[in-house]
Amino acid sequence: MSTTTHAPWPTTSTAPAAPATRRRRTSPASDLASRTAISEVEWRRPAVRRPWRAMHVVLLVLLVVAAIGPLALLLKFAVTPTQDILRTPLALFPHGVKWSNVTEAWNRVHISRYFVNSLIAAAGCWASQVLVATSAGYVLSVLRPRWAQLLNAAILCTLFVPAVVLLVPLYLVALHPPLIGVSLVNTFWGVWLPAGASAFNVVLMTRFFDNLPREIFEAARVDGAGPFRVFWSMVLPMSRPILGVVSVFAVIASWKDFLWPMLVLRNPNMQPLAVRLPSLQASTDLGVLMAAMAIAALLPVVMFLVFQRTFLSSAGMGGAVKG
């Protein structure tokens, strides 16, 4: 993304127009600052550079310990015999590596099934969030009917109601949804549909669409393109960067979610990995449980390492608009 991260919307009008070609930047933060508190002249002075360098090294060591440490231990536990995990958690494989932890978790504890459940939940949450956010953003920003203001206000209102406060009424709605008649409990719809109701996504989309050049839509309309054609062939391709942000966060949020899927998906065979792990805790061998936990952590960590620029630039935006 070529947008500055301190603003909640793209501030340059060129940003959405040529998103795919802007791939030259290497780090998400360094390109933004024109300068920081220490000037280049000062940095060349050893009296300034040396203490700051030292602090940076200390910080790097602390960050490695805090970020990599627990993850590395988790990966080590995943292939360590349970007795070794319990007796000497910090020793490096005193009685050898036990790869069977992983296969046992995957096959015998049915982690494979829960992993697939997590994938199904994440895919559906992604689809419903992208569908709702793009279509609502299109209505609010491009089509702009007379009632758009009303819809916008009604959606913005929900930003002020913390999701967690609605836990109980939302559960009762999922149990007996009015007009639908079919209970959403123990169906994936119960996870997918509420995930779509994200005002944060709609705000993000609307603000992005607001910055798309309006003349192009007008030209397309004059040429006879209907609203659906404009949406599908022009707005969606242009909004690829913001779709990336919404997608990445939708998948990660769904993967991390615990309380809501635990309430809605009561059937253990349907539960995602995150919901299942605490219940496995009591009945599973510790080494196997650690392997299962490592499997659960794998996908988000890999996704983060692959899409780190998207993650980091939109995490900065989170400070400006967030429910």
């Binding site: 910080l59 958690p89 009917p145 999701a163 009424p169 709605v173 309380l259 960590v301 967030k322």
Partner: protein, 328 residues
């Protein structure tokens, strides 16, 4: 004859100028509203595009909001529903567990501020001066944020194993301290939970600060240098005042987050030992879904509504400030 005429209307909206184009007919200066003009003007397709949002928000956002207010005055066992007036509120306020839960939540929030406020700030200020491998610092800082909370809590629960062989107790033992009972010790259990929560959330705060640090105008630093300011002088007198808005935002975000904390107390301790980690949200959960009490939906929503009012006030405050901050 009806000729379509392109009229470009410029109207200021917010800080930017929006250009709206609209087809108007020359014949009728004022547009008449008949179903036919509505249909031809794209009214139907706008409605079609709005349907997913209306459905999803209607069922899973607006309806639960209304329902939560209505239900807080009702008693229900899912089959029979009766109006009980303020009885739910009376019963919740009379519950001896409520003051404990409020105290624990405030204690959690205070500890979260003590742990989670200065550390990301110092880290972000240091990181903004990094000349090489800046991306590596950010990636490392944010890595714990993406780990699923359930995995993080279960892993830390193992780290907190009470005996001398627990991971943290071994580390303390190497400097001749401990062993500590961590999750069983009434005084230590809450700081232990907050430590994990801070570890899991600090990266997000650091990235927010880093983004804000890039928005400090270069001229301010240049001017400070002309005035002979030292590096620390610039950090203290230029950077910090500029971060004030963001600091307030993260402050409120953190309070909002801690008021809704569920995973840590639920998975680490289940509220124990002797209710020392029973938070407000855990109490709501126990009212509605807890096995011992169970199904007290009325009380659960009454407490939710009270929590919502407090949090909504904070959210409004937050939203106003972010508006001002992001446009400044």
């Amino acid at each position: 004859m009806v000729t379509d005429d392109l009229v470009v209307a410029v109207r200021p909206s917010g800080r930017r100028t929006r250009i709206t184009t609209r087809f108007v007919t020359q014949h009728t200066r004022r547009r008449r509203h008949t179903p036919a003009t509505w249909l031809r003007g794209g009214g139907l397709s706008a409605l079609v595009f709005a349907l997913p949002a209306i459905f999803v928000f209607g069922w899973f956002s607006w309806l639960p909001i209304v329902k939560s207010v209505v239900m807080s005055f009702q008693k229900t066992n899912l089959i029979v529903t009766t109006w009980v007036g303020l009885a739910n509120f009376h019963r919740v306020l009379a519950d001896p567990l409520l003051p404990i839960a409020i105290r624990n939540t405030l204690w959690f929030a205070l500890l979260a501020l003590v742990f989670g406020f200065p550390v990301p700030l110092v880290a972000a200020v240091l990181m903004s001066e990094v000349r090489r491998w800046k991306g590596l610092y950010s990636v490392l800082a944010y890595l714990p944020v993406v780990i699923p909370p359930v995995v993080a809590v279960l892993l830390w629960k193992f780290f907190y194993t009470p005996g001398p062989r627990g991971v943290f107790n071994q580390l303390l033992g190497s400097v001749h301290l401990g062993p500590v009972l961590w999750l069983q010790d009434k005084a230590i259990v809450m700081p232990a939970l907050v430590l994990e929560a801070t570890w899991a959330a600090a990266g997000g705060t650091i990235i927010i600060y880093l983004a804000a640090l890039t928005s400090v105008p270069a001229e301010l630093y240049d001017a400070a240098e002309v005035d002979g300011a030292s590096v620390w002088g610039k950090v203290w007198h230029v950077t910090m005042p500029h971060l004030r808005g963001v600091l307030f935002v993260t402050f409120i975000l953190q309070i909002l987050a801690t008021a809704q904390v569920f995973n840590e107390p639920y998975l680490f301790t289940g509220g124990g030992p002797s209710n020392r980690t029973l938070t407000v949200l855990l109490l709501i959960y126990n009212y509605a879904f807890g096995t011992s009490l169970g199904g007290r939906y009325g009380e659960a929503t009454a407490l939710s509504v009270m929590l919502a009012v407090v949090l909504a006030i904070l959210s409004v405050l937050y939203f106003r400030l972010t508006r001002r901050w992001s446009t400044s």
